[in-house]
């Protein structure tokens, strides 16, 4: 009887601990839809100081060893899929199309699974026509604006909007978010 109770105690403890760690990991995952903020296929994590920030969003940054930037400084948006829902792949060419964001500074980059940028453009680097910006994502050079996959599948496409002293409203963010269309695959 005592041995049975000990086994039940140990197994309940182990299963409970495993569930606790697994659920914490899941909640602090980069793409967790329960915590992050969705804008179509783009998502953002509420950062430091944001009233919508939670212990999970704070944990997400700190677990990566990074300090979250204050929400009034920059809005960072991520996506891993094109508009049709396909995962971004180096074997394809994509067209990223957007209205030129009306913020003081913006960057668009491809980052690998370790979070390091493999390719990046800023508002100063791009050619824009009539207020529109088109950027190709591809593994081979493209005419016009081009982000290089660098021979590996990207972890994410990242758009960062530097707002100065005031956070852009969700409507402003949505209006400026790029579409990502797959043009062709090899």
């Amino acid at each position: 009887m005592a041995a049975g109770s000990t086994i039940r105690f140990a197994s309940s403890l182990l299963i409970g601990a495993a569930l606790g760690v697994a659920s914490a990991h899941y909640m602090a995952q980069q793409s967790n839809p329960l915590v992050n903020e969705r804008h179509g296929r783009w998502y953002a994590w509420p950062t430091s100081g944001d009233p919508r920030s939670s212990p999970y969003s704070q944990a997400r940054f700190l677990l990566d060893g990074h300090l979250p930037e204050h929400f009034t400084e920059v809005t960072t948006l991520y996506r891993s899929h094109d508009d049709d829902g396909g995962r971004l792949s180096q074997s394809c060419v994509y067209l990223v199309s957007m209205k030129r964001p009306e913020v003081r500074r913006w960057t668009l980059s491809l980052v690998n699974d370790n979070g390091a940028a493999t390719s990046l453009v800023t508002q100063d680097d791009v050619i824009s026509v009539a207020g529109n910006v088109d950027v190709h994502l591809a593994d081979v050079p493209q005419p016009g604006n081009w982000l290089d996959f660098g021979g590996e599948d990207p972890g994410r496409l990242v758009l960062r909007l530097y707002d100065g002293d005031e956070r852009a409203s969700p409507a402003d963010i949505d209006a400026s978010l790029p579409r990502v269309m797959r043009e062709r695959c090899s």
């Binding site: 039940r8 105690f9 309940s12 403890l13 299963i15 409970g16 601990a17 569930l19 606790g20 760690v21 659920s23 914490a24 990991h25 909640m27 602090a28 430091s48 100081g49 212990p55 999970y56 704070q58 944990a59 940054f61 700190l62 677990l63 990566d64 060893g65 990074h66 300090l67 979250p68 930037e69 204050h70 009034t72 400084e73 003081r104 500074r105 960057t107 980059s109 979070g115 390091a116 940028a117 990046l120 800023t122 100063d124 680097d125 960062r160 530097y162 100065g164 002293d165």
Partner: protein, 183 residues
């Protein structure tokens, strides 16, 4: 038998909740502390360290492709700290974090009152009279900002645009003209 099963089920569930909360509240903070300890061991506390490649400071920088970073792990147990900063003509910000990675204070180039400024950090038990006296002294003028941190330790992070060589040069020039040390 059924009540015994229910008991162990509830016990397992409560264990899961306790571990979940402990993990979310303490493990991330512990990761941050590890990085701050590494930074302090490498660069010392109350000193500004550039986030060059393969440094402990770089490990705290999340967007190094587009920003240049300098960091200062601070310890106010010996008295207030002064961060002297030069603000370049491009995106720049300073953010002061507490020991849990929470933002205590932030300022960017568009909000900065001057191109050259000093930020004085006082700990959680500042002597109000000492702050008033210090503010009256000749050392602190319009370009001085006093921040009550509410904590004895933490980290200050300077960020500036660094997506191309010109931006990076401006950022490094500004960081080299900045400092972090006892007030």
């Amino acid at each position: 038998m059924n009540s015994s099963r229910t008991f162990w089920l509830i016990f397992g569930l409560l264990t899961a909740i306790a571990v979940h909360l402990a993990y979310i509240l303490f493990i991330p903070q512990s990761r941050l502390n590890d990085r701050i300890v590494a930074l302090t061991a490498e660069a010392g506390s109350n000193r500004l360290a550039m986030a060059a490649d393969d440094t402990a400071a770089a490990a705290l920088a999340s967007h190094r492709g587009e920003l240049a970073y300098a960091v200062c792990a601070f310890d106010l147990s010996g008295g207030p700290l002064e961060i002297k900063a030069r603000v370049p003509d491009q995106y720049w910000s300073i953010e002061v974090y507490g020991p849990r990675g929470n933002t205590i204070y932030t300022l960017n180039d568009m909000q900065a009152p001057r191109r050259q400024l000093s930020i004085f950090l006082h700990d959680e038990n500042p002597d109000p009279q000492a702050i008033v006296e210090a503010a009256k002294s000749g050392n602190r003028g319009l370009n001085a900002i006093t921040v009550l941190t509410g904590a004895t330790t933490g980290i200050a992070v300077l960020r500036s645009a660094g997506a191309n060589p010109l931006e990076r040069r401006r950022a490094l020039d500004a960081f080299n003209a900045s400092s972090c040390g006892p007030a």
